[in-house]
């Protein structure tokens, strides 16, 4: 987020008009643990710091450390839910939010965070995640089955066109559910889901890709044979870096293992942890199949009643 003098001025006024210095510090500590404005500013702790000075120091620290968006999210939370049963009114908050919207962010009340608003301005990290930090993701791993044979069998341009169509469809499905393609290389990739219900969203996305690929292969394919994919969903903590390859941790490895070794062509598998989140409407569509270490994983395929 770009920091300009108007935002700085709004921010300082909003803080200083709405809460005492002690409460400012408590709110900042939701973003920067153990934050102490006296210590950081060098202001003598024995003398009460004027609100405006404290707000200016806090703004500088928050902006310098890249927590501005996160801090505004906390301010929204405090103004809507209060702080420790205490009501906190922040009259200038709507103007701060409006400034952020001008910069291309949209506040999602359902998710409690800011996300990028522009259709064409999607970046991995949704504009709010910080590189190097660890977050809980649901990961959807995708791979085109028999990619090498397809490349050998058909002209390069025809294969490229088909794979581009399939990738386009997968990207639409992932972004429709607020996910992001984290990594994509030729015939497959990794998508990440971060928000509320992320395991459900990743699973529904995988199911919809299976279904849409069925329609594509039936009615819209450009290769003489159907394109089939393997999909797997697994959730867990991941160190967030723009490149999934560099992030490579246990959660990513697990998702890739489920997809490559335990998923049949045309199917989606989910790990046991993801399956427990599915609920009574989705779970009956999955069948237990053998997974790593003889533990069950769960598989979805688009099947049709027999004639």
């Amino acid at each position: 987020m770009k920091v300009n003098s108007r935002i700085a001025s709004l921010f300082v006024s909003a803080l200083s008009q709405s809460m005492p210095v002690e409460l400012m510090q408590k709110v900042v500590r939701k973003v920067i643990p153990n934050y102490d404005v006296y210590e950081r500013s060098g202001f003598p702790a024995a003398i009460p710091m004027p609100r405006a000075d404290a707000a200016r120091h806090i703004f500088k620290d928050i902006a310098r450390e890249g927590f501005l968006v996160k801090f505004v999210e906390v301010l929204i939370e405090v103004s809507t839910q209060g702080y420790m049963s205490r009501e906190v009114r922040i009259p200038l908050l709507p103007r701060i939010i409006a400034e952020m919207e001008d910069q291309g962010y949209r506040y999602s009340a359902a998710k409690g965070i800011f996300v990028e608003a522009g259709e064409h301005e999607r970046t991995m990290g949704w504009g709010t995640l910080r590189e190097g930090h660890t977050y809980e993701f649901a990961l959807l791993c995708v791979d085109v089955v028999g990619n090498s044979e397809i490349v050998r069998r058909y002209p390069r341009s025809q294969v490229a066109e088909a794979f581009a169509s399939v990738r386009g469809m997968i990207t639409r499905q992932v972004e429709k559910r607020d996910g992001r393609i984290w990594e994509w290389e030729g015939d497959g990739g990794l998508a990440a889901f971060y928000f509320l219900d992320k395991t459900i969203q990743a699973t529904l996305c995988g199911m919809e890709i299976v279904n849409e690929l069925f329609v594509y292969n039936l009615l819209g394919r450009t290769l003489p044979e159907p394109v089939r994919v393997r999909l797997a969903v697994h959730a867990g903590p991941c160190r967030f870096l723009m490149s999934a390859k560099e992030s490579a941790g246990e959660t990513i490895r697990r998702a890739e293992l489920l997809e490559s070794r335990y998923t049949h062509p045309g199917c989606l598998t989910v790990s046991p942890g993801v399956f427990t989140d599915l609920g009574s409407k989705l779970a009956p569509l999955f069948t237990a199949v053998p997974g790593p270490d003889n533990s069950p994983i769960y598989s979805y395929a688009l099947e049709w009643e027999k004639k």
Binding site: I200, G220, P226, W304
Partner: protein
């Protein structure tokens, strides 16, 4: 749907009433000398008219065979001076319509165009099913301005898709009226969203369902594909949008016919086609089923026909049923995901 006319006399053709009534944005006029080179680029759907005025019998036969060599081009013969003695010969050559002197001087109605496309569809049965499909993946991009041609108060041809929630009486017993109304509103939104992507519009809609219209002169028969997509998407509706605790069962029926179209105020419409689809949907279609009449079956892309099976007759018409995917039935059933 756009039409391309190949002629020796563009100025004369512009005055042919049958073609002029389409409007200039719907009509492209090219010379006969361009025919052979232009055909390959026309294979995605416009209707081609060959103007035979002034051509010898051998010449128009040769040109017809040039067009017919492109099996995906649907073509009609324009004979404004009734020069062709054996009209059937143009159909034997693969034409899908013949515009003689009498018709050429009248307006082209949507009904006529719908009948032409339906005939084109019928005669394409049996062609190579493994050839690349004409049905685009992104149907939204391919939905033409079919509705722009629909005039209130006039009769038009449509595909009628009947959709209704099953066991409405049971739902009424189980849920408070306002909760049920809210739940049915989400169902309607779900249906509206999908049919809009396929060029359809809800027309007569009551509490638990209604009728969706698809103009029949679309270049691609989206109505059956729309029905398939509704079946495939129902699980996502149940999980993400439905306000009811379990899976919502509904039935669908698809037929083809014509009716006088009115915006709103549908209460006084008298139409055999409308009555018939309501009868089919309410009296013959069982919970969860998607049935198609024989006419609607003709609209189904060849690749999708493996997913239909005969389901008896109703009011003297052959009925087909679309098989149900596991995601629509709510449980896995044995069967292959692939018809080929």
């Amino acid at each position: 749907m756009k039409a391309v006319v190949f002629t020796n006399s563009p100025k004369r053709v512009q005055k042919v009433q049958f073609l002029a009534s389409r409007g200039t944005h719907q009509l492209e006029i090219r010379t006969l000398s361009e025919l052979k080179d232009a055909l390959p680029s026309l294979e995605v759907a416009p209707l081609v008219y060959l103007d035979v005025k002034g051509l010898s019998e051998q010449e128009h036969a040769r040109l017809l065979s040039v067009i017919a060599a492109n099996p995906r081009v649907r073509f009609c013969v324009l004979d404004p001076a009734d020069e062709i003695a054996d009209v059937a010969s143009v159909f034997h050559a693969g034409a899908v319509d013949y515009i003689g002197k009498g018709i050429a001087s009248t307006k082209a109605t949507a009904k006529r165009r719908g009948a032409t496309l339906a005939y084109a569809k019928r005669i394409s049965v049996g062609s190579d099913a493994s050839s690349p499909s004409e049905v685009p993946l992104d149907v939204q991009a391919a939905v033409s301005d079919g509705w722009a041609e629909i005039q209130p108060g006039q009769e038009h041809s449509f595909a009628f898709l009947f959709i209704e929630v099953d066991e409405a009486e049971e739902l009424k017993k189980r849920h408070e009226p306002e909760n049920l109304a809210a739940a049915m509103a989400t169902f309607r939104e779900f249906i509206e969203r999908i049919v809009a992507q396929h060029g359809g519009r809800p027309w007569m809609w009551s509490r638990f369902g209604g009728l969706v219209l698809f103009p029949l002169h679309e270049p691609t028969p989206f109505a059956p594909i729309c029905g398939l997509r509704i079946l495939l998407s129902s699980v996502f509706y149940d999980v993400e949008e439905s306000l009811l605790p379990g899976r919502l069962s509904f039935r669908m029926a698809l037929s083809v016919g014509s009716t006088v179209y009115h915006d709103g105020h549908t209460g006084r419409i008298v139409s055999d086609a409308v009555n018939s689809i309501f009868h089919l949907g309410r009296r013959f279609t069982r919970p969860g089923q998607f049935l198609l009449t024989a006419d609607a079956h003709d609209l189904v892309p060849l690749q999708l026909r493996g997913f239909l099976q005969p389901a008896g007759t109703y009011e003297g018409r052959r009925i087909h049923r679309m098989l149900r995917p596991s995601s629509a039935t709510g449980m896995r059933e044995a069967g292959s995901a692939w018809a080929g």
